[in-house]
């Protein structure tokens, strides 16, 4: 059962967060940031949050300010990062270490929080990293990813047009301490077609279990 929290990110400005603390809980917590198109209470986000908690991680989701206000258009990056940082700081008060995870835009913001702002995450997990902007053909700059010294896990669907595996794979191979987990037949939301070998639910279960394996085998643990 998720507890609902209110996180102040600026004087008089708060967003809602949901926190699940499993029993027993690992010392590492996961902050799961939502993508551009849906907030923390979207069924995909709730499922992934609960699956990660099921793997023993204290897991928190949160709304960015625009989602909290019921707007559809995402805020500009500085405001997204402001809220993201406040949520990360809050989870850091509950767990020994924090892993920043995010779906699409949420993962990209996590990467900027670490790569540009130096937030001290234990590791980063990208669930569909949006390397190619919507409507564009050229990938975004990955320079900030190269500044990240923490381990990075790129989970990407092989049908993902925003994070094509033929770009994400070589990028992960180029980055220090990065791992690419391709999801066969997965789209940008890691959903698979009905003809796929696994159901969507099974894919999400496998992803959460894989994240657990990857985090449990991080060097220095």
């Amino acid at each position: 059962m998720a507890r609902t929290l209110r996180i102040q990110w600026e004087a008089g400005q708060k967003v809602t967060a949901r926190l699940v603390v499993p029993r027993p809980a690992k010392p590492m917590g996961i902050l799961l940031a939502h993508g551009a198109g849906a907030g923390q209470d979207h069924p995909w986000m709730v499922a992934m949050r609960d699956l990660l908690a099921g793997e023993g991680f204290t897991t928190m989701t949160f709304n960015y300010a625009y989602t909290e206000a019921g707007r559809r258009a995402p805020d500009r990056a500085p405001k997204l990062l402001h809220v993201h940082r406040a949520a990360a700081d809050r989870l850091a008060g509950y767990t020994d270490e924090v892993v920043l995870a995010g779906k699409s835009m949420g993962g990209r913001m996590a990467s900027h929080l670490v790569g540009d702002d130096g937030w001290q995450a234990r590791a980063l997990v990208y669930l569909g990293y949006p390397l190619v902007p919507v409507g564009k053909s050229e990938p975004r700059s990955a320079d900030h990813l190269r500044r990240i010294v923490q381990p990075q896990l790129f989970v990407s669907g092989t049908r993902d047009r925003l994070g094509p595996s033929d770009l994400i794979g070589p990028l992960a191979a180029e980055l220090s301490g990065a791992t690419h987990l391709p999801i066969p037949d997965g789209d940008h939301s890691l959903r698979v077609p009905k003809r796929a070998a696994k159901s969507n639910d099974a894919v999400l279960v496998d992803i959460a279990a894989s994240i657990n394996v990857w985090l449990s085998e991080l060097p220095g643990r």
């Binding site: 010294v149 301490g177 999801i183 997965g186 992803i207 279990a209 894989s210 085998e217 060097p219 220095g220």
Partner: protein
Amino acid sequence: MSGSQSCRVAELVEAPSRIEVAAGTELVVTWEGQAPASVTASVLRAACQCADCRSDAGLARTGGVLRRSDEIRITGARLVGAYAVSLDFAPDNHTTGIFSYELLHRLAVSATD
């Protein structure tokens, strides 16, 4: 390659002074003057860049899940020229992965942070 194409020139990484398979579950690599760095079998198996692993059929066969290193084991290691090591994995009996010293270094760097 034709003049209109480009390729990334690999960063030169010196050959390690020692490469050791530890308990079948990790590769311990030591570069001169540096502390030994280990990369788990799970990460190495996921990082395999061979054509089979990167093909749709290969991904359908092995992709979508990371297995624990006590389920994936390194069963063999051989030097490839002066630039890489070839690894064999169980239980899928995968033997076509070549891991350049550059890739090993990238995979291992976070181990020393």
